[in-house]
């Protein structure tokens, strides 16, 4: 059990009472503004002392009110990317970046300074004072500072919210590396379905200081009844194997026998990958469609139809590759005469499985 949290706490009018156990990997805290994500993260960091409970990472107990254990913040060996950058105004960018390394025990696994500076595009800013940075630049420095502390547990509170898309696309794979290669336990707060789908091993959805739902990213995001941050978050996660790299720049995946085409993936043949297919990106067709630009077609059987309050419906399709969600209009449901048990085809455009939605499985 990598990260295990069970606490009660009272903050202002909000009563926190939550517990979740997350396996190795990256745990995303998900939920609306004010639901308590930062507070939980602070509790793990030791910046908030819960009224009672227990917090442990791997086999290290950070806090246990019963055993009267409460490891001081600086002994928890964290990196914390705060929601606001919190750079040290008395130091240059370079000094901010290396601040943590002087306290950390030597760790050959720890990320290298130059690599981080390169990845975050901080090369030109090293001698700057934090006050002379733009909002996004500050946040990048904060990310670098946390990573360079060589932490054994990484906390990140909406680390990418202030960044532009290309920068996000550059940084996201790095979080994957931390998760998969360095096996760093990560607690990650995010509002973004894309980030959740791509990074989360486990999703903890919060509501008003409580856990509304936990589960694997696949479970939580493919549950058509659970869309806490808007319908756009609904989507399914499939696993597939890299089958071939084609000369036209496409990579062919094998999802339980079904070929899927994606823009070139930087993974060796045979590698397992994880794909997110947003429910709204799926078109359903009764017959196998011909003459369409969309390359990916998954045959399946309708398992469930959930009509929302609006004109839409979310259909859950059982395919050989796994469950796929489709969000279409109720008008189409009746026009195509779809009901539970109907067989049909899910059509997914190649490129709608966007780079940011693909992660190593």
């Amino acid at each position: 059990m990598s990260l295990s949290v069970a606490i009660t706490h009272r903050l202002g009018d909000t009563d926190f009472d939550l517990s979740f156990d997350a396996p190795d990997g990256l745990t995303v805290l998900f939920g609306r503004s004010g639901s308590g994500k930062t507070t939980v993260t602070n509790a793990v960091a030791g910046l908030v002392t819960p009224d009672s409970g227990r917090i442990a990472v791997q086999d290290r107990v950070l806090f246990d009110s019963a055993l009267r254990v409460n490891l001081p913040v600086h002994k928890r060996r964290l990196g914390y990317v705060f929601q606001e950058a919190r750079l040290f105004p008395n130091m240059s960018v370079a000094q901010n970046l290396t601040y943590g390394s002087r306290f950390a025990p030597p760790n050959p696994q720890a990320p290298k300074r130059d690599m981080i500076i390169e990845m975050l595009g901080l090369g030109a800013l090293l001698t700057r004072a934090p006050g002379d940075l733009s909002g996004g630049e500050k946040q990048r420095v904060a990310i670098g500072r946390a990573l360079l502390a060589g932490p054994e547990l990484l906390l990140a509170d909406e680390p990418l919210a202030a960044l532009d898309e290309p920068r996000k696309a550059e940084i996201l794979p790095y979080f994957e590396t931390l998760r998969d290669e360095l096996k760093l336990p990560i607690l990650y707060v995010s509002h973004s379905a894309v980030e959740v789908a791509r990074l989360a091993t486990t999703v903890v959805a919060m509501e008003n200081g409580k856990v509304a739902r936990t589960g694997t990213a696949t479970d939580v995001l493919s549950d058509p009844s659970f869309t806490p941050t808007g319908v756009r978050a609904a989507g399914a996660i499939l696993e597939a194997t890299v089958a071939a790299h084609h000369t036209d720049g496409l990579t062919e995946l094998d999802a339980a026998g079904i070929p899927l085409f994606l823009p070139k993936l930087d993974k060796p043949t045979g590698a397992r990958v994880r794909l997110r297919i947003a429910a709204q990106d799926v078109i359903l067709s009764r017959s196998r469609p011909e003459g369409l630009s969309a390359l990916n077609v998954l045959p399946g059987t309708i398992e469930e139809i959930r009509a929302g309050g609006g004109p839409g419906a979310i259909l859950s399709l059982s395919t050989p590759a796994g469950r796929v969600l489709a969000r279409i209009t109720q008008r189409s449901v009746s026009a195509l005469d779809l009901s539970v048990g109907t067989t049909c085809h899910a059509v997914v455009k190649t490129v709608s499985v966007a780079p940011a939605d693909i992660g190593g499985a």
């Binding site: 040290f88 943590g100 950390a104 006050g131």
Partner: protein, 230 residues
């Protein structure tokens, strides 16, 4: 210089020595006290706070008298120190003690204000990066409060340069040992025609203290530029 007698020069040198020692010796304790008052909750906090301010509230003569009672050769603390080979009474060290005590409230208040202005969120951030309380203080808090430390020190130094009542009451006015500039000025003012001599010493005292003041301002500016707004 011709217009100052050797004795007067001695007074200038002594005042500088006393004031500098008073300031530097009071610094660590002043910082600790300021930090405790700003950040810690402990029983007796208000009493400590009152005690720190006492030298400001009491007429200097009274402070001097209390110092004499306590740190005099026959006083409870003074006799102890004396046995350990440290004599304060009627020595320049005693003058420095008096000056330090008189300047202490000014020093502590200035430092405390700047400690209270430090955003604890920055200190938390440092802690998450592995810095213990001590290192947080040294690497974050201390640099951020340097302007306050400087302000407190310069206040204490200026006060030390001007301190008279407590000093003359505690350690008397012995040339070369305890005759600081203000004591010398006082002595001149006690006799007919002494005003012009007193004026000379006043000018020196003003020049020295103003020099220190300007220096501290320049230093503070430089720090402020470095620290800026995070």
């Amino acid at each position: 210089m011709e217009w100052l007698s050797i004795e007067e020069w001695n007074a200038v040198a002594l005042s500088l020595r006393v004031s500098l020692w008073a300031t530097f010796a009071a610094l660590p304790l002043g910082l600790l006290t300021a930090y405790a008052l700003a950040r810690w909750e402990f029983p007796g906090r208000q009493i400590l706070n009152g005690l720190v301010h006492l030298p400001l509230i009491l007429p200097p003569v009274v402070t001097g008298y209390l110092l004499l009672l306590t740190f005099g050769i026959r006083g409870p603390v003074g006799s102890l120190l004396h046995e350990m080979g440290i004599t304060l009474a009627f020595r320049w060290t005693g003058a420095a003690l008096a000056a330090a005590i008189m300047g202490f409230p000014l020093m502590v208040r200035a430092m405390r204000l700047s400690i209270e202005a430090v955003d604890p969120k920055l200190e938390q951030a440092a802690a998450t990066l592995g810095a213990s309380r001590f290192w947080v203080f040294v690497t974050i808090t201390l640099p951020l409060i340097l302007p306050g430390i400087l302000a407190g020190s310069i206040l204490a130094f200026a006060k030390a340069m001007g301190e008279f009542g407590a000093t003359i009451t505690f350690v008397s006015n012995i040339p070369g040992q305890t005759q600081t500039l203000p004591s010398a000025i006082y002595a001149f003012l006690q006799v007919p025609g002494g005003e012009s001599s007193a004026l000379r010493l006043v000018i020196i005292s003003v020049i020295v203290a103003m020099g220190a003041l300007v220096l501290s301002e320049i230093l503070a500016r430089r720090m402020a530029k470095r620290v800026g707004q995070g």
